[in-house]
Structures are given as structure tokens and as C-alpha cells.
Amino acid sequence: MRHFKSLFIGCTLLLSSAGLVFAGNGDTLKAVQAKGYIQAGVNGDLFGFGKADQKGVWKGLDVDTARAVAVAVFGDLKDRVRYTPLTAKTRFTALQSKEIDLLTRNATQTLGRDTSLGLDFVQVNYYDGQGFMIPKALGVKGAKELGGATVCVLPGTTTEQNAADFFRSNNMDWKTVTIESTAELSQAFFAGRCDVMTSDASQLAAIRASSPKPDSYMILPDIISKEPLAPAVRHGDNQWKDIVNYSVLTMINAEEFGITSKNVDEMVKSKDPKIQRFLGVTAGNGKALGLDEKFAYNIIKQVGNYGEVFERNVGVNTPLGIERGLNALWTNGGLMYSPPFK
């Protein structure tokens, strides 16, 4: 019944945007501080990125990103983030209609979305790309051999378009099966309804890990798209955008400095002026963002640096088993790069 939710949110948007005054600079921070928590839109169904475990504790890379923002704002994590699970279809509307303050739901940054949806993307927290997963028994070695295949696709994502572009540009026939919920779609795929499943490679890894027989499926080496997954905020509130942006960058910068949640208390005593500025020993950064001077220290202490967050949620020692690849620091040949904190 999830599509009713999009209808509902559509109507809410219609009604709420009619009654509310448009959010200006600084409004979101004030509103968040007044209510005492951040409402974060997350996936809810994606292991490794945003999903509640059996005890109801939210876990994942996107969840940790939302936590980092909350720590930056409040300095602690006592019920400071509340989560709204969103489908691919409802996520942007939820942000536009102020149902959530922050969207961390593996959303791909594109020009179209940045310009026509009334939202702004911030620092990418995961560089992804779309791939294909097949049963090993199929004996296919590359994506170019998939002509005539039936493909399971999640609707309402850039995935549908990428796949269509790929098959079109390679002049291959294909059939789509499009089911809204990831769980239903994966079940259909594992039962053999489709030959191939396509999605972001990270998502495929998560789905594969959740299958009854992970070893009988493989992800093809071909990556057919660029999917920079980034948190998003409403367009127009630049202060809030800066806060979210620099919360993500704090984790990346911390990894670059070699500061972890374990050694941060020693690093505070560092004589390096760059680290002193970064951790708020020398004041300035916090005030500029409208936050506590120790926001970076708090994020690292309570959430961790990017490397820790990555390894904890999706890294090689998790069921997802994803290598750092593009998501390694720039110093290690990846794309994670933070501007200086000064």
C-alpha cells in the first residue's frame, strides 16, 4: 500500500505548502533545536545503509551520517535522531513538505534533482555505481551478454533510466519487472522470476547478503552508471546546508588526520595547529557554523571517522563485504577529500 503514501504525501505537500511560510536561512536549525531532535529520512529497508536491527536499533552508513549531524547540533545522542523510513518515490516529497529535516537515504545526486526538486545535495557519503546481479548458474560473464533477459528493477529511481539507457545504447532487447518494495522484488528475483537484478552495486551487495544462498549469486563486474549518493536538505536554508555538509566532511577529514573515536581524546592534546583548529581547541569553526566549538570532536568521539563508519556498516568484514574502492581517501586513490577546516 506504499503508493498510497506517495498520494498522501502529495496531498500533504499541497496542503502544507499552502499554509506554511517558506523556510529561510537558519530556520531549520532553530526548529530542530526547539524540538530537540532531528527527523531524518532513511531507507528503512537497506541493510548496511539504513535499516533497524531485530532490537529496533537503527544501523547503517546513512543512519550514522544523520547521527553525525545530530551530534554536531546537540553534542549528544540521547534520542536526538528520529527516523522516517521512505520509499524511493516518497523521499524528496517528504523533504519538500518538511516532514523531515534531513534526507540520508542513498539518493543519487543529479543535475535534474538539484535544480527542479527544491533541494540541495551536500558532500557525497558513498560513491556508488549501478551493476547487475545474476545467479551464477546462468553462466553469464558480462553485462553485454544480457540481451533478451528479464530484469528486476526497483521503480522510481535513476536505476530504471540507467538500465533503459544501457540496453538501448547496446541495442539489446529486455523485459522489465518493476516492483515497488525491495523485499518483494528480491523475493521474486531469488525465486527466478527474473534472470537479472539491477540496482546500485552497494544495494545489490546488501540484497545478496540477505538471500538464502548468497554464494549462488554474483555481481557482474560491469558498472553502468555513476551514482554519487549524498545527503540532501531543503533549498534555501544555507546555514543548515553548511552544518550537514561539514558534519559529513568532519568524518572524512578525521580519517585523513588519523583521528578515530578511540584516539580522539589524545589528539585533542596535539600541538598541530590544523588539528587544534579542527577539534575546536582553537575556537572559530563552531561559531562560523552556529554550532558548539567541539562539534567535530563530538562527531568523532560519538560516531567515528568515515573509515570507521564505512567498515562498521558495509566494509569487508560485514556480510556486505564491500571494498573501499572509490570511497577510499584521496590519499589512497579514492574520491573522499575534504576541504581544509579553517
Partner: protein, 393 residues
Amino acid sequence: MVTTNENPAAKTRFWNDEKTRGIIYQVVTAALVAFIGYYLISNVQDNMAKQSIASGFGFLEKEAAFEIGEKSIEYSAADSYGRALVVGVINTLKVSLIGILLTTILGTIIGVCTLSSNWLISKLGTIYVEVFQNIPVLLQLFFFYALFYEAFPGPRQALNPISGVFISNRGIDFAIPAQHLAWSYMVNAFLAASVITFFMVRWARKRQERTGQQFPSFWLGLGLLAGLPLLTWVVCGAPTELDIPALKGFNFQGGKNISPEFSALLFGLVLYTASFIAQIVRAGIQSISHGQTEAAMSIGLKTKHVLSLVIFPQALRVIIPPLTSQLLNLTKNSSLAVAIGYPDFVQVAGTTINQTGQAVEGVALMMVVYLTLSLLTSVFMNWYNKKIAIIER
């Protein structure tokens, strides 16, 4: 008492006049509604412009760039959003119309069964109604869909019950006659036969009303409908070539395919709605007093004529209005297709909304389409209801 009688309307203020007051109330209400509507719409436009959210229906002409699993008209990812939405509407119509037809037939049969004097048949009918009426339709859809892809083998091990028919978890693939001119002629012949039969039945009924003479219009009509296309086929050289589905690569190519999504949706909707229609039919028949049956029998009508000439025409008057709302429900429930991957209008519109980000326009389109479908069904059923209503003389 006396004073009021002596002072007529001249002295009543105009706002105390019942008629004027009624008009004032209505005008004020209408103005209020119009104002609220204007306020909401202008505010939405205003705020969307401020948040730089695109608006308007210009997106309908842009390239859709996504594929649709099932289509009854030519469509590719290079076509426009507008055309994609039309594909979706046709898919919705396809499942709704076939569903309405099947569910009416099945519901009527089961409704009559529950009233059967045969204990087994009536109990089976009751069990059917209770089971299907009381399980949420979404659950039934999931069940039939899962049944389809779990129970049947992959295309390479497809079941082949009779030659030319393959059942796999990709759906039912069956042979269809290969392209030949004869087939389009036969369709025309069938249409011609339908028109002739229609007028023949009318003529026969008029004649019977006038002279009391019966005319075997049923059998003659059946003969025409079957015979004329058959004759055309023979004249065209009796082509027998078939387009048989064959496993090529991943899937069957050729022939015709009925997808698991479509089948599951149709099954779920038809079985669910039929249980309600069965109840309506049962109630309709029971509302006709038993005296009618006895009276009809006493003038020597056969049992089938008792049912078709006396009971059903009267029962229909009770049945049609609630039946209409059930058929509307079926159409609206077809939007649950999105849960099991049938590309109906809601799913296509959903993808469109996501790719263009124009939720307000997309949801408005959805509402317009379903409203139109529902109103059309209503208009037709109301017309039919009027036609069968008691004509007062």
C-alpha cells in the same frame, strides 16, 4: 396569531424570507469554497516557485527514458512521458475490463450456488464467499503472485501441458496463429455477424410481442457468430500456420505471453470482488418473494424461464446499484498492481513523478484518471439501472 395573519410578507425583512435566505447561504458557501480553492492553489504555486520546484505539464512531452514491462501499444524508452502514461492507462483498463467481466460472471454463478438446494454446492459457495471476502485483497495478490513464481519452474524447464503452450515462472506462453490476412477479415466477419444478430434478436422479440410466435434467434445467432468467421477462414484458404513460442536465450520468443503479474492481479481482484458480488446476487434473488416463483410455475413456465423471465428481471433492480459500487472497487483496487509489479497507471505515474519530481501534477493526473474511470462506469451502470427499472404505467 391574528397579528401575523394581518401583516403579510410586505413587513418581513428580506433576510427573514426563507427563499432569499436559502439563496444567500448557498452563494456564501460557494464563494467560500471558491476562495479556499483559490487560496490553496495560488499558495502552492507561489511556494513551489520559491522553492524552485518545477511545475506545469510540460514534462509530458519530454523523453520518458524508462521501459515498461507490459504494453499493448508501441512504446519504447525513447517515447514521451505522455505516451508512457497512456500505456499505463491502457494496462489499467485492460485488467479492469477483463476483471469486471469475469468477476460479474463468477459472482453471479457463486451467488446462485449459495442458494442451491444441493447441500454440497450451497456450502461450497458459502465457504468461498467467507474465505475470499475476509482476506485483505493485497494479501491475496501477494499470495497469487508468490504462488506463480514459486510453483512454476524456470523457462528452461517450462511445463508443456499441450503442444504450443508453455507454463513457467515467466508466465504462460502460448502459440497464436501466424500473421495472415485471413485473421483481420475474420474479425470483420465476426463484427458483421454481431450486428446482424443484434438486429435479428430485436426483430424476433418485436415479432413475438406482436404475434406470440417464437423465433430460434439464440441458435441462429450463435450459428452466425461462429459460422461467418469460419466461412471467411475457409474462403481465405484456411491458413493453419502457427507462431509457436520457442526458448531463445533467456526467454520464450514468439507467440503470446500472459505475465505472472497480470495473472496474479486478475486472479486476486476477480476472486475477491466475486465474493462480494455473490452476496449481492444472493440478496437480490432472496428479495423476490417466493410467491413470484409459485405464481410463475402455476402458469406453466419452465424452471429456466421462471428464473430468466420472472426472478432475474426483478432481482436485477436490487442487484445493480450495489453491483456498480463493487465494480468501481475492482477498478480502484487495480491500483494495488504496483505491489506485485504489474505496470498499471499508478506505477507508471509513480516513476514519472520520481524522474520529473512533479508530485503535484502526477498525483493530480492519477486522481483525474481514476475519477474519469469511475464516473464512466457509474454513468453506464446508471443508464442500465434506469433501463431495467420498473416502468410505471
